[in-house]
Structures are given as C-alpha cells and as structure tokens.
Point group: C2
C-alpha cells in the first residue's frame, strides 16, 4: 500500500545556514495490513519518514506511491482527502488544539468529514472511553497530564477509522500498564486489516509488530 523509491529529504533554512540531510535515499515497501515498527537512534530520521508516509511533508527527491498513486502528482484536495479519510497520525509532540477541549479536539476531524453532530459526539465519546479519559473530556490540553495529552492524540488519530495508522512514539509518556492498553488497541486495529506503522524507542513496543525497520543516519540499516 505504501512504496518509497530512493527518497531523499533535505531540510534547509535559508537565513540560518541550516542544511540537514535527514533521509539519504530510502527504498521501502509496506503491504496493506502490515504491522511494522520503525526504530533507530534519536535523530536518525524516523519522524521525517513518518511525516512523508503521512503526506505531511514531501521528499526532496525520489518517489512516494500511496495505493499505487504517485503522491507528488496529487493536488491539494486529493491530498487533503487522503489525510482526512485514509490516514490517522499520532504526532510525537501531540499537536492538540490548545483552545479546544478533549471532546472538541476529537470532534473536529469528524466535522471536516461531514459527519452530523450526534454521530460526532457519539464517536468522540466512544474513543475517549477507549483511552480511559471519560472524566477529562471537558479539559483543555494544558489541563491534562503529559500521558493524558498523548492519549488524546492517539484517540484523535483513530476517530476517522483510518485504513492506515501512523504513530510517532505513541507510548513515550505512558506508564507500562496504560501503554499496554494503547498497544492492545493498535493490535486490534491491525487484526481488523488496517496497516499500522509505529515509530518507537521501546523495544517492547517494536517486538509486538511483525516487522522491524531500523534506521541509522537517514538510511535503512536492517529490515525484517
């Protein structure tokens, strides 16, 4: 379902003289329904790779095929539709909307998919319960603990029932018990046929996946 061909990513900041080659020619194929982990040292390019897979960023060179379509040939509307309907993304730094409550944060993506109000509320509350935050649904992000914010970020990625889930360090701020609850939900998603790709530093998380792709310095070091 996902295919990268010799993808290079170079970050440049014109004024600051910053130039970093974060991905150095990555070639990778992930089939529909796979359960893969991306591991590697801090700074090795994991988030960069996930952002490209999630259509949040574009390669500097090389090609990205999603569902056999060259993503660079899609227009903004098509990309936006893919991001909204097919992909769920859990950000390493959560990216919650600070002015909205937990409930509003979860209803927003459903609103953009044109779901009616009662359905939005029901779906949002169901996911809030799944991640154990029912009694916090009226809090704003800064009124939550770090691990609670992380769980909201996870719930939000699931709210549109995505075919592909991309999760960047989903358990970094969670105690082991809560982390296992979340991972069981990811297992379940994959058992339903969805493609799940997790970036994690935690080897116990990576071991639950059926394939481990290891990055070092922007390249694939091992894959299996």
């Amino acid at each position: 379902v996902v295919r990268l061909d010799n993808v290079v990513k170079i970050y440049r900041t014109p004024g600051a003289g910053v130039e970093v080659c974060a991905l150095r020619g990555l070639t990778l194929s992930i089939q529909r329904g796979e359960y893969a982990a991306i591991v590697g040292p801090s700074g090795s390019g994991k988030s960069t790779l996930l952002n490209i897979l999630g259509c949040l960023d574009r390669p500097t060179s090389g090609t990205y095929w999603l569902d056999d379509r060259d993503v660079s040939r899609l227009d903004d509307d098509e990309l936006s539709d893919i991001r909204g309907r097919r992909i769920g993304f859990v950000f390493q730094s959560f990216n919650l909307i600070p002015t909205q409550t937990v409930l509003e944060n979860l209803e927003t993506p459903l609103f953009y998919q044109g779901r009616p109000p009662r359905e939005r509320r029901a779906q949002a509350l169901a996911l809030i319960e799944k991640v154990g935050l029912t009694d916090r649904h009226h809090h704003r992000p800064h009124e939550l603990s770090g691990g609670q914010q992380q769980r909201v970020a996870i719930a939000r990625a699931l709210v549109n029932d995505p075919a592909i889930l991309l999760a960047d360090e989903p358990t970094g701020n969670l105690d082991s018990k809560t982390g296992v609850l979340i991972l069981e939900q990811l297992d379940e998603l994959n058992a339903q046929g969805r493609t799940v790709i997790i970036v994690s530093h935690d080897i116990n998380v990576a071991k639950r996946c059926r394939r481990i792709i290891e990055l070092r310095d922007g390249q694939i070091y091992s894959d299996g």
Copy 2:
C-alpha cells in the same frame, strides 16, 4: 533539603467547571544529596508534585520547606533566585524558547545569572557537547528531532550547575543508548553531591535511583 507536609493541590478552572484534586495530602522528606525516582500511573500527580518541588506552582494547602525555609513565605525575588540558581528543571514538554537557537536557549539562563558573554558561550557549548548536539547548536527547536529537543531541555536544566535537579520524564523520547548517556550524567551529578529527583515511567530509569517513591491517585503508595 526538601520537605512537604500534608500538601494538597487542587486545580480549578472557574468558567469550565473543571476541578481536579491532583495531590491529596502528600507528606514527604528528601535529604540533601539523595537520588530519588517518582513513579506511578499516568495522571497520578507526578508532574504536579515536581512543579511544587521546583517552586513553579504552589500547594492549595499544606507546607513546602526548601532548605528549611517555608516557601510560601518567600517573596517573588527570593523565589526567582532559588529557581535560577539552586534548581534545574527538565520539563515533560521541554518548554524551549521557539525563536531561539539551541545555543541561545542555553545562554539565556546564564545571562539572567549575570555571567559574562564569553563564559556563557563556553558553558553552553560544553553542555551542548555533553548531550551530543554540537552540530545542531544553531538550529531552532522545530528544526530538531523530538529526542534532540529533549536533550536541549536537559542541557538547559544543567547550565547553571544546580544543587537540586528535577527531571520530568527525561528519557521518554530517547533511544536506549542515548538515554543511558543522559542517565550517566545524572548519576555523575548525584555523585558530586547534588540532589537528583527523576520522574519516570521507565522502570530501568527508576532502578538506577536509590529510592523509589510511588504515587497513585495523588497519594504516596509506597516509598523506599
């Protein structure tokens, strides 16, 4: 060096009807030079406790003695001096200044302590090297990976050579190798006689400390 007596913390958000009792009467003593870990489930009150210890927040009731002084009786200048000189704080969400480079982020606390420019630069660069970020010193936070941002947050907490280091989940975004590098520096700080208190979900981190304080639901569940 640190003593809490029946400390209660209640968060209230007037308009939103949010009221959460995060700490329910905590009584705790930590001696100078101790190496303690605070563990517990997500939402159990660890960051709240650390914020009070770090003079970043005040108890709703109960007393906090730091170096035998009742913190609630100190004025803003005295508090500011304690935070600037005696305490180093690593935030769970890093709290880096987004418009400043890594180098500037580290020089800023030194500037407020009145250190001259050449000394600031030397100290900042020394710490940047200690956390392995020499070739990223001119980047801004959004131009860094998650684990790199975390390492800057750690370096910044150490830059004023604090007597007490409080670290909230310092390795949550780090691969195990980089995490161990950081923990070895915390071991070293403690060996020099400083008080080190780490909040962590990672039992391997907690085990390096000589004392583990476990929180559940805003209370001390075990301590030893």
